[in-house]
Every structure is written in C-alpha cells, then in structure tokens.
C-alpha cells in the first residue's frame, strides 16, 4: 500500500449500519462482514464514511495510515472486497460513490406528499394472497383453537356458528380482484365441510387462474371422506395435524389422499420437544413426504421457542441477504405484504393479530386495501420501526418480522437482544 494520502472508499454494494454501540460493514455480494465497537477508531470512521457529505469516501492522511487500527481496517476491507484505497494523487477531485439509498417513485412516502395522487394509486396490484374463512362451525374442541391461526395458516372456530361468508359476497370479492397480482386463495374454516356451498364455491374458484389452497383439520377430513371428490388435482390441500395425533386416522387419510392423486401437504403443530419427536416418528412411520412442522407458542413454552425458533447472529448472516433484500427489509414486511384475511363475519384484516381494516358486508375490498396502504401496520411492519430491533445494528440484515413476533408482541425472538 502506498503511504501518501489515500481515498478510502466503500463499495456501493456494501451496507453500513451504525447504532450506539457498533458499526457494521456488510458486503451484500459475498455475505462477508466487519464489525467494530464504539471504542474502536473505526466506529467513528464508519460514521464519517456513512455521512451524506462523504458518501462512502474519506481522505486518509499519511498519519492516519500509520495508525495500526486504521491500517488493519484498510487491509481487511480490501481482503473482503468491502472497500479499497486509491492514492489521492491519481485524481484532481474527490471521487463519487453511489451510496445505496432507495427511492420508490410510487411508494407511500411520495404518494402521501402528492397533490394529485394518494396511496390508493394502483394499490390493487399489490394484493397477492387472500385467505377466506368460510365459517366458524366445527365439531372438534382443539385446545388453542383460537390461537393457532394467529401464528400460521390454520382453521379457527367460535361460538358464533351462524357466521358464514355468503357465496355471493365471495363472488363479488373475486370479481373485484381481477386487476390484482393475486396468486393464491387460502380457504379455512371452522370445518369447511360444514360450509353449505363448498362444492359450488370450489367450482366457481376453479374458473380463476389462482392456486386454491384448502386448510382442513385431519379429523374433519376423516369425518367427511365422502366429500373428498369436491376437490380436484388443481387444488392444493393442506392437512392440519394438532393435539394428540390419532395414528389410525392419519394413516387412513394419508393413504386415501395418495390414491386420489391430490396435491397434498401436511402441517404438524408442536409446542415442545417431546411432541416434536413423536411427530417425526409418526411422519416416518406413515411415510409422509410433504410436510411442515410448525412450532406453536402457547405462552408457557418460551424455552422451546428459544431452542427452536430464536435466531442467532450466525443464522442472520447465513442467509446472505442481497442489497435488494435489504431494501425490501427497510421498506415492507415481505411476509405480510399483499395479503388479506377475510373472516366469516366479513371482517377484513391484513394480519389476524392486527386491527380490522373493514367489513366486506359494508365496504369493498378496495376500501380495506386502501386503509392498509394509508394507515395499516402489517404490510409495513419492519424492524427499524419496533423496539428493540430499531436500535439493533443487524436490523436491516435480519429476516422480516414474523407472526410469532407480532402475536407475542416481542420482536426480539433472537439470542442477540435478550
């Protein structure tokens, strides 16, 4: 390295994040990182580099370069392709680096400032997934029935058994979403077999190019095997398995579904390690291939969550998010974005843990999407807005806020901030 004045620069694919305690340099191309505590000289250097005035480039004097800490930093950034040095004598003026800053032209930030447009501009294009709760009737009495669906896609019942989504309402909703980016419609109950017009509904939905996915508790399916012919090979069935598993019933329906050649997956719910072991054994014995095991938080199994769900620093960086992933994470919640849930009483939510956006009996689906765009929370729930993540130096690298976090109102399901 040359010992004269140097331009020290950071590459534009590198993201710098700084909090009170640390500075992080993250190379979004190879996932490499450098971290410095606030006691290090590099912490202040990171602040200088990250300022708009310097835009990822600062001048280092010969004296700076003689400092071992800075010298070592320069060597590290070169080795990891995070940055480099260029002798200032090669140029007549400070170079310019395009520090990454996101600008979304038709994003809510600009639309809210606009005189001519509002957040409703082209908003329906964002809708990509709809969950319809057909009814709330069910003859099963699952413990935690009222909680599963708040953590992952699952059925739920209530005492208000009269609630049922009218098929005409559903048809109107489907007509209204023609101009959207709709990919998937999820159908949940109660017990969907107790929905009065299931067959007619499926025929209607199959006319559209969306993936129709039915969520059915396995015992309810067993009790309604004669209705299996309602579904066809273009539908997707998600079989929900919770509580004490009846091996015989599960084996019987698995065999039947295999024979029918339907597109099937299984969701097993577990809240402790013992249960998890039993589930794995059952899966292996029956020979179920397409399945997911879903940890369930029952308010008394935090240790199970700490062991199986909480993430650590290694998990965060193992994913190697790209610069665009980081832009997404600083803007929207990719898990929730574009999704709506319509409950059997007509209430519309962007997330079952969040406030109601409207009611389909009174409002249009446009109203609900508009409300979410304008003042909703789920689509916009990002780590830089919630405590303690907003103070975390990894908040742009970390995966999006999950339903577990929204449900528990604890955003640090991690081993980093206890």
């Amino acid at each position: 390295m040359n010992n004269e004045n140097q331009w020290l620069f950071i590459e534009p694919y590198v993201v710098i994040t700084i909090n009170d305690k640390k500075a992080l340099f993250y190379n979004s191309l190879n996932g490499e990182k450098l971290e410095y505590s606030n006691s290090s000289k590099i912490y202040n250097l990171a602040k200088r580099l990250n300022s708009n005035k310097n835009s990822y480039i600062v001048k280092l004097s010969k004296i700076d370069m003689d400092d071992f800490e800075i010298y070592k930093f320069a060597k590290n950034i070169r080795n990891l392709f995070i940055g480099d040095l260029v002798n200032t004598s090669f140029s007549q003026l400070k170079p310019f680096q395009f520090k990454p800053i996101l600008n979304i032209q038709k994003g809510v930030y600009f639309l809210k400032k606009s005189k001519d447009f509002n957040v409703g501009r082209h908003m329906m294009q964002y809708l990509n997934e709809l969950t319809l709760q057909l009814n709330e009737k069910c003859s099963l009495d699952c413990i935690n029935c009222d909680s599963y669906y708040k953590q992952f896609s699952f059925c739920t019942k209530s005492n208000k058994i009269s609630n049922e989504l009218d098929i005409n309402q559903i048809e109107r909703i489907i007509e209204d979403i023609k101009g959207t980016s709709m990919q998937k419609i999820k159908i949940i109950g109660g017990d969907i077999f107790k929905y009065s017009e299931l067959e007619e509904l499926n025929k209607f939905l199959n006319k559209y190019p969306y993936l129709i996915e039915y969520y059915i508790q396995y015992k309810n399916l067993y009790l309604n095997l004669d209705m299996i012919n309602v579904f066809n090979e273009s539908n997707s069935l998600n079989i929900l398995v919770n509580g004490d598993i009846d091996f015989g019933i599960l084996t019987a329906i698995t065999e039947l579904l295999q024979k029918k050649g339907l597109n099937v997956s299984f969701s097993f719910v577990t809240s402790n390690n013992n249960e998890c072991g039993k589930i794995e054994e059952i899966i292996s014995n029956i020979g179920i291939e397409n399945y997911t095991i879903r940890p369930f938080y029952n308010k008394s199994n935090l240790s199970f969550f700490k062991e199986n769900v909480f993430i650590n620093k290694k998990d965060i960086f193992e994913e190697k998010p790209t610069l665009n992933d980081i832009f997404i994470r600083q803007t929207i919640n990719q898990i929730n974005f574009g999704k709506l849930l319509i409950k059997s009483n007509g209430d519309v939510y962007s997330n079952p843990n969040d406030i109601k956006l409207g009611n389909i009996k009174i409002d249009t689906i446009y109203d609900s999407v508009f409300n979410e765009m304008d003042s909703g929370r789920s689509w916009w729930s990002i780590r830089t807005k919630v405590k303690p993540c907003n103070k975390c130096v990894y908040n742009l690298i970390c995966p999006p806020i999950s339903n577990y976090e929204i449900y528990t109102k604890r955003y640090n399901l991690c081993h980093i901030h206890r």
Binding site: V86, P95, Y366
Partner: protein, 503 residues
C-alpha cells in the same frame, strides 16, 4: 446486441465502471480500470499480467505499481466477474401490446382531455396549430360537441368502475384545452354539470384548464365555483417577453392577460394561491431566469417552462423557426423539475436527476419493482404506455393517447352516436411502430434505459431516425459528464434520491 459494461473517466481523472447487468456504477482503482480496458479489447488479462508485469509496472500517465498490486486487482476482477458485473446483458425489446393491455391502461388512466375548440382569440407565432407545424389538423373554428364528450365519458366510466381499475379514491382529471377553451364555455358548463351526475366507484373528478387568460375576467366565477385548476400561458413579466403572444391584429395580448391575472388574485386570493398555475414557453425573447424570477417574485409561483416543440416543423420555415428558439442550452429546463429547481438552480441538475434515476440502480417504480428486482423484456423506446396517463379527444372527435403528438397518430374516433376504439387494432398499430423502431434500438447503447417518445422520432417515415441514439462513445461521454457533475455536487445526489418524484 448485448452490452456488458462501460468504462469511463471523469474530468477529474477518476475511473469508474457501469455494469449493465447489475445496473450499478462503481468507482475503480486505476489498475482495475487499466486491466478492464485490456479486457474490453479481448486481451486475456491474467496472461497479460504474467507476461508484462515483473516486479514493477508503470501505467502511462498514472504511476508505477507492484506485481502484487496487479495480482490483487486480478482477484478483484474475478470477484466482479463472479457477481455479474462484467456479464453481457441484453434486455429484450420483445414485449408487445395485446388488446387487454390497452384496455387495462384505459381503465387506469388519470385524465380525459377535451380539445373544446380549435378556435383561438390569439394568434401566437409558435402555436402548434400555426404555420410552423405540419402534424396537426389546421384550425377550422370547430367546437367539440358536448354529446361527443358525454359519449366518451359514459364509455370511460364503465371501465373506471370495472375491476380492471387498480386504484381507489383516485382523482380523475377532466381537462379542457383548445385552441382557447374559454371560447366554448357552453361546452365546459355542460360537461361539468353532466360529470357531477356520474357515479364513480373508485374515483372522483377534478377539472383542469389551460387558457391564454384573455377571457378569464368573464368566466372566473364559474371556474372558482367548480374549483378548476387553471394553467395560464404567459411567457414572462414583460411585454417584450410575450412578443409572440398576440391578437390576430398583431397587438400584444400581454396587458389584457396580466390585468386578468391581477383581477383573480384580488378577487379570489385563496383560490389564486391553490389553483392558479402558469405555463411559459422558452424562446429567444425570454430566459429561464427571467421567467422564474418574475413568477416567483410577483405571484410566489413556479411556472412550468416548456421548450418550443421541435416535432414536425414545416421544412420551408425551419430557418425562421430556429431563430425563435432559445439557444442558451444551459438555461433549458424540463417541466418535471421546476419545483426542484425553484430552490436548487444548478446547471445540469435535470440531466443528473435523469441519470441518477436511470443508472443508480436504487430507484424503483413501485413495490412490485422492489420485490421482483428484475429487468425483463420491455417495450421498445420510452414511449408512455398507451392511455396510461391520459386520453385526448380533439375537436373533430379524433382519439389520441396524448395532446403532444401529431394528429396522424390517432387511435380511434368518437361521434354523437358511437365511439370507435378497437383495442386490438390499437395494439397492432403500436406494435407496428415498435417493430420498425426496434431495429434502430437494437444498435443503441441507451436501449435498456430509453426515455424517448417514438412519436417524436418520425416513426411513420420510411427511414426512422432517433435523435437520442447512442453508440458506445456517446455513452462513455454521458457517464463521464454526469459523474464529473456528481464529484462537484455530491450533496445533489441525496436531495434527488430523498426528494425528487416524477409523479
């Protein structure tokens, strides 16, 4: 034609690379620039370094470097290679319209504009309906029949209320243009009253008008009552600035217009603040600075400054036309950035803003653009998608996608009985133009980021020509100029990304 990367230097001797594939500009060490230049010339750089760099190697006009320096940058080039920075990138202009695309755009359009009349009470020299232009129907004192406008609105309301519409609580602008719109006030009153009876499911109407201001004293009460947005054409604060804006008897219209502006300001001060705007045409009798200063100082307004339209000039009058043009290129503005310029009047900011929007890689159109982050096949040129912004109805009932293009590009027509708008035919019409110009686009280095309207490129002529065509050398220049500007004005980059919105 595929393109990989552009290597360039600024006037300050800094080196950069622009990667087409990654859509990103990176600052380079001189060795890296040197090696990539060899790579551009198809020289195998690993072999070249092995052969030519012993212990020390001097890059001419730069300096001496060690063998290990070269070896480091060979590794870094490998890293760039692995991450797609040097990859050939060829966005395909293969996308074409189908009937559904056109219908969809119309269901989502922002504006319906009526040429209320082709008559005018002024005879401005640079008017696009005047003798200098050959691509507009010559005025024949035709008023647009309000039944035609109603027919159009009924047709459009069906689409706006359909599920093809993606927006909600959206403002749809009804625009009244001329000739001089106020010469057909009966039409305007009829259409405003009619539109108030229309039920819109997801939108509401607002009213807009461009006027020369001569008759404003007569009709302002109605316009205020209906909350019209009014754009008044005026080229500056002096009679001399408005030399080309005159009555048919050659007398200047300035005093009459100016008096009417003051009248509105006095009679309806709040309305004046909210709804009155100005449009100025830049020519050899005014300057951008004069225009801005006048409207800012006098009315606290930022005018839209337009250049003289250079499309389809009568070849016999081209020399005379050129005399009218403002030749001081530095002062030429762009309407989209006027507000921005109001507080940041710096040379080339407009060009640099366009540059940042196109080549920083950090500007996304919307959340779908953010989520997909893919630049797939696209339509050729930068022509607005048909009807995506507006639909324009001429006084003779011709339907156009925009009032700024020649009437020969009509895509349909409407009369009292019927509206002729065949989406498939429109798609074919556009696709024909695309096929034609695409041959030129395929040789152009600006192809991936073109902002050119094809209707301004003699698209209907045999030998289509594009005045924005760029070969490699021109692209190098474009990048060099803009990065040189960035080096001198680095704070501008942040202002642009944090504040500038094309909408």
């Amino acid at each position: 034609m595929g393109v990989d990367y552009i290597l360039f230097k600024t006037v300050n001797e800094n080196n950069y690379l622009y990667s087409y594939n990654n859509n990103q500009i990176v600052f380079l060490h001189p060795i890296m620039h040197f090696l990539l230049n060899l790579n551009k010339r198809n020289i195998e750089i690993n072999k070249w370094v092995k052969k030519n760099v012993k212990r020390i190697y001097e890059i001419k006009n730069v300096g001496k470097f060690t063998k290990s320096d070269f070896e480091y940058y060979l590794k870094k080039i490998d890293f760039y290679l692995d991450n797609g920075y040097l990859k050939d990138y060829n966005i395909q202009n293969t996308q074409r319209y189908n009937a559904d695309n056109i219908k969809f755009q119309l269901a989502n359009t922002n504006q319906v504009s009526f040429e209320v009349t082709d008559s005018c009470n002024l005879k401005c020299e640079y008017c696009v309906y005047g003798e200098y232009y050959v691509n507009r129907d010559k005025p024949m004192n035709i008023n647009l029949n309000s039944e035609i406008a109603k027919k159009t609105l009924v047709y459009l309301v069906n689409l706006w209320n359909s599920s093809l519409n993606r927006s909600h609580k959206k403002m749809i602008a009804i625009g009244f243009y001329g000739g001089e719109a106020l010469l057909n006030m009966d039409f305007i009153i009829d259409i405003v009253n009619y539109s108030k009876k229309i039920t819109l499911k997801h939108s509401y109407f607002s009213y807009h008008m461009t006027t020369n201001g001569v008759l404003l004293d007569k009709y302002i009460d109605f316009l205020v009552e209906n909350d019209f947005n009014i754009s008044i054409s005026l080229d500056g604060g002096l009679e001399s600035n408005n030399k080309y804006r005159k009555f048919p008897n050659q007398q200047s219209a300035f005093k009459v217009i100016y008096k009417n502006i003051l009248l509105i300001q006095n009679k309806y001060p709040e309305y004046f603040k909210r709804r009155i705007g100005f449009i100025s045409v830049l020519h050899n009798q005014n300057s951008e600075k004069e225009i801005y200063n006048f409207f800012n100082y006098k009315f606290d307004k930022t005018p839209l400054v337009l250049n003289l339209d250079t499309d389809s000039i009568n070849p016999d009058l081209i020399d005379e036309f050129k005399k009218m043009q403002q030749t001081d290129m530095d002062s030429i503005s762009d309407i989209r950035f006027n507000k921005f310029k109001k507080t940041h009047v710096v040379g080339n900011v407009v060009d640099f803003t366009n540059f940042v929007f196109t080549y920083s890689g950090y500007v996304k159109n919307n959340y779908l653009g953010l989520l997909s982050n893919k630049r797939e096949s696209k339509l050729p040129t930068g022509t607005c998608e048909t009807f995506s912004r507006k639909i324009f109805i001429t006084a003779r009932g011709k339907i156009l996608p925009c009032e700024r293009i020649g009437h020969q590009f009509k895509v349909g027509s409407v009369n009292e009985k019927d509206i002729q708008l065949n989406f498939e035919k429109i798609a074919n019409q556009y696709n024909g133009y695309f096929d034609k110009i695409d041959q030129l686009c395929n040789k152009c280095f600006l192809k991936n980021s073109c902002g050119v309207c094809m209707f301004k490129q003699k698209i209907e002529s045999k030998d289509v020509y594009c005045n924005s065509f760029k070969d490699y050398g021109k692209m190098v220049n474009l990048f060099s100029i803009n990065l040189s500007y960035a080096e001198q004005n680095n704070e501008m980059y942040y202002r642009i990304l944090n504040k500038v919105n094309y909408e």
